[in-house]
Amino acid sequence: AWVRSTDAFNYATYHTLEEIYDFIDLLVSENPQLVSKIQIGNTYEGRPIYVLKFSTGGNNRPAIWIDTGIHSREWVTQASGVWFAKKITEDYGQDASVTAILDNMDIFLEIVTNPDGFAFTHSKNRMWRKTRSKTAGSLCIGVDPNRNWDAGFGEAGASSNPCSETYRGKVANSESEVKSIVDFVQSHGNIKAFISIHSYSQLLLYPYGYKSEAAPDKEELDQLAKSAVTALASLYGTKFEYGSIIKTIYQASGSTVDWTYNQGIKYSYTFELRDTGRYGFLLPASQIIPTAQETWLALLTIMEHALNHPY
């Protein structure tokens, strides 16, 4: 109700969960032929978990998944997700790449992947990263939703301490925010690229994180990552490093893209957006749009590759 259209929405500032959910409804109402809203589950605290579906028809077409905000304090990612959503609706029918992709594939975009945590960053603790679930026997709250997936779960690269920021949870998929995506991906069965967006550090990462063994598709993933970060840098010169999770940063078990890769989704990537540390999670809002614009070029590179290399 606060804006009459997504053209009037302010993409250059951070927004609350309610404002983002309002934006989602507005975007769907403005583009009923292209965009729909799917609820894939509810969070621990009972909030709905929404995914935007961009589709021009067909039945269970090959699809691309993009999520932002799984770590709630990484605000530039949810803000970029909002910008991506608008960009897709603006470019379909105008931009040849986006049009070709959507004429043949669907795009699923989950903008607020950790709603409870995100609401908590606005209300009580801006630095909150995890979910808000309670762990029996502990006073500490929350599970790291990027350590809770059934891929190397429980191995080195996550903590068994509920008070740790990288607490993996008692069992894999214990978090409804994670289980909702697992169920969606498995029921859809035709997702060809899965991109999970974090901040910060300016990295483009591919599996594995829980083991040092190279992914079977490493060569292709590495080449594609190189093309993607080159496209990203072409706009503002922002330099990204790329490589496997374990080699480029550290061992991380139970992570999203290790699980999606093990499901057979070859083009599984994690982004770590701006910056390299001057502001970290507190990236000024003035950098939202340039960050989203440059990231979009990398996403397009990956999506085009997935379109042109069916498997």
């Binding site: 302010n10 250059a12 500032t13 951070y14 927004h15 209300s123 009580k124 603790n125 801006r126 630095m127 008070c163 920021e165 990288t166 910060y200 550090s201 940063i249 550290y250 540390g277 001057r278 502001y279 970290g280 999670f281 507190l282 000024p284 809002a285």
Partner: protein, 94 residues
């Protein structure tokens, strides 16, 4: 709402595995309430950690006593958060 007055974010540069292990020991000291923004990975890759005001002195003495280099990346977390909130309110008003 949690406030972060006086919290600083330090960027730690470890020279070798031994120093890395020392920083990892810090990670386990829950009373320090450290929040690793970038965890210890390998020598050469920066470690960013938010340190509450009450733990600052102890952490800095610890690092300096071991010759572990660090610099202050964010002087006061709360002042950045205040700016962020101010920016959001201004944008909303506009």
């Amino acid at each position: 709402s949690e406030d972060f007055v006086g919290h600083q974010v330090l960027r730690i540069s470890v020279a070798d595995e031994a120093q890395m292990q020392k920083v990892k020991e810090l990670e386990d000291l829950e009373h320090l309430q450290l929040d690793f923004w970038r965890g210890p990975a390998h020598p050469g890759s920066p470690i960013d950690v938010r340190v509450p005001f009450r733990s600052l002195q102890a952490v800095k003495v610890f690092l300096e006593s071991l010759g572990i280099k660090y610099k202050i990346m964010i002087e006061d977390v709360q002042s950045l958060l205040d700016e962020e909130k101010e920016q959001m309110l201004t944008a909303k008003a506009r």
